[in-house]
């Protein structure tokens, strides 16, 4: 049900993103989706890739700080209100969203990566609201 996401710590300095993305490119790593959170000092690059373990060892070998987190991918109809449906379902179940970003939009369906504290409760809340949860097999076939 949950999808593995890899996060990388990068200094918020010129050229750092270029350096890490070149490393991924040189290792033939395809980025399915990404988001970056940043502060004045640092940024967290979050990636959805196939074979997370391999990506992790490539990054670690190059000296990067990484962490692997389970996230949910919610699939809803790509209409106005798509985000509202998800956010409201989670709010109604008293679940806080850490962050959310778009993975892809295919065949009028938008796939959103949702990071919450407890994936089980969140998945149940989303399912209860009639929202489909996509698994890894599905998203890498998109």
């Amino acid at each position: 049900m949950a999808v593995k996401q890899i996060s990388v710590f990068i200094q918020n300095k010129k050229g750092r993103l270029a350096k890490v993305s070149r490393l991924l490119a040189d290792n033939d790593i395809y980025i399915r989706a990404l988001s970056i959170a940043d502060t004045q000092d640092f940024g967290i690059l979050r990636l959805i890739c196939e074979d997370v373990d391999n990506v992790n060892s490539v990054l670690k070998e190059a000296g990067y700080l990484t962490t692997i987190t389970d996230v949910l991918v919610a699939a809803v109809k790509d209409d106005a209100g798509a985000l509202a449906i998800i956010a409201e379902a989670l709010r109604d179940a008293d679940i806080s969203i850490e962050y959310i970003y778009e993975l892809a939009t295919v065949d009028n369906i938008v796939y959103l990566v949702v990071r919450v504290d407890d994936n089980k409760i969140a998945a149940a809340a989303l399912a209860g609201a009639g929202i489909k949860i996509a698994n890894e097999d599905e998203i890498f076939k998109l």
Partner: protein, 435 residues
């Protein structure tokens, strides 16, 4: 009123002064040997007895005291009299084992206040002056020392303590303060605030300022003098030896006269401990001459400076010391607080970080800034900014509890702090504190 607070001693001949010092030293060494077991053991180990000390020429026979001794002996180990005879303590701001607590009998307080009174009179103070003391009050020696000195001179004393700058300026205007005592960085800040309030030096009556407790430059002196319309005088001291007033500047502004009837000064080579001749640059060492509660013999200040007995136009014969030109240890003075990098390291390790860190000190708008760069470990990394920011805040708070000053903590990626061969560079001090 005289231009000296205690003219007989402040202008005594060097011969008289040295005779007085010798007489006092013999008594002080005897007092310490009889009452301070810690130092008696040190003397016994070195094979020196009080009988070996017949004049100041024998001073070199005595062992050195260091800050480490003060730590080992904390709190009562260097006490020279029964606690019943003590009336006061003052302390450095450090909240660690590095804290220094000094004890005073009433006589010690009196002599300390005399030293501060000499500094105020040297800055032109008389009983007609209104002296605004904007040093912090409390355990810190700055406020209580200058407050006492101001009373002795007979100034109308405004015990303002530091902070609330607009109110400081209002009092200055309403009560016509003529002398201000505070840290140089706070004086600069008062100057800026005055300007921001749309006022000029003509709107206040200040004529002199007595500034100490932290390093400052000639450039800063000129800025302060201009922004407040005053003459700015330097004052030096350390909690270990009583507080401010160990030495003070006169109108010549070319170094600080050491109150030699109370403190015997030496310059040594910090590496070998060898006493250096007058005019050499080295570490300043003080021996108290008439302390009852907290007598210190040959206390190594770690401040690097030069002594000179060149004739001074003010008429004082006390030897002069330059502003400290640096330290023979790694202590930093940040916002008037003594900071050792090792204190920060202790917090880092306790909080689960590595000992690979970098401290950056700078000065923005005359206020010291402290930035601490620390490497994040893999276990501490999280995919949410919230968690990493919370870590930064919690570490900053732990450092604040240790030092008493607020740092800005930056968590950085592993191996991004330069590792050097041999001695690691842990501190970058960007302030230009020494000319």
């Amino acid at each position: 009123m005289s231009k000296y607070y205690q003219p007989e001693i402040e202008t005594a001949s060097v011969e008289e002064l040295k005779a007085l010092q010798s007489e006092k030293l013999v008594k002080q060494v005897k007092h310490v040997y009889e009452n301070v077991k810690y130092y008696r053991d040190m003397m016994d180990e070195k094979g020196v007895t009080p009988d070996d000390i017949k004049s100041i020429d024998d001073l070199h026979k005595l062992p050195f005291l260091t800050k480490a001794d003060l730590r080992d002996a904390y709190p009562y180990g260097l006490l020279g009299t029964d606690l019943k005879n003590c009336v006061r303590i003052q302390s450095t701001s450090g909240t660690t084992g590095r804290r220094v607590v000094a004890f005073y009998t009433q006589k010690d307080v009196d002599l300390w206040e005399d030293c501060c009174a000499r500094a105020i009179v040297a800055a032109g103070g008389t009983n007609g002056d209104v002296c605004q003391v904007a040093y912090g009050y409390g355990l810190f020696t700055g406020g209580p020392g200058l407050n006492g000195g101001s009373h002795k001179v007979g100034c109308l004393t405004l015990p303002m303590s530091s902070g609330n700058t607009e109110r400081q300026i209002q009092f200055m205007q309403d009560l016509h303060s003529t002398i201000i005592c505070c840290t140089p960085s706070y004086a600069a800040y008062i100057g800026e605030t005055l300007k921001e309030m749309g006022l000029t030096p003509d709107d206040i009556d200040l004529k002199a300022g007595i500034f100490g407790a932290e390093p400052w430059t000639e450039e800063m002196r000129r800025d302060i003098e201009k922004s407040l319309g005053i003459k700015a005088y330097d004052i030096y001291g350390l909690t270990e030896t009583s507080g401010p007033g160990v030495s003070f500047e006169c109108e010549e502004q070319t170094g600080m006269h050491i109150n030699e009837d109370h403190f015997l000064a030496e310059i040594i080579d910090p590496e070998t401990g060898e006493v250096l001749p007058e005019g050499s640059k080295g570490e300043l060492v003080f021996t108290s001459l008439d302390k009852e509660a907290f007598p210190l013999l040959r206390y190594r200040t770690r401040d690097i400076c030069v002594l000179s007995r060149k004739k001074c136009s003010c008429g004082r014969t006390f030897i002069k010391m330059t502003k400290p030109m640096g330290r023979s240890d790694d202590m930093l003075i940040i916002r008037g607080v003594n900071v050792f990098p090792s204190q920060i390291e202790t917090v880092l390790i306790k909080e689960g970080y590595t000992s690979n860190y970098l401290i950056e000190v700078d000065r923005e708008r005359n206020t010291d800034t402290l930035d601490v760069y620390v490497e994040l470990t893999p276990e501490q990394f999280s995919d949410t900014v919230k968690e990493i920011s919370a870590r930064e805040k919690s570490l900053a708070n732990a450092i604040k509890i240790m030092l008493g000053i607020n740092p800005k903590v930056h968590l950085v990626a592993p191996k991004t702090i330069t590792r050097s061969e041999g001695k690691a560079v842990r501190v970058i001090d960007k302030r230009k504190l020494h000319d």
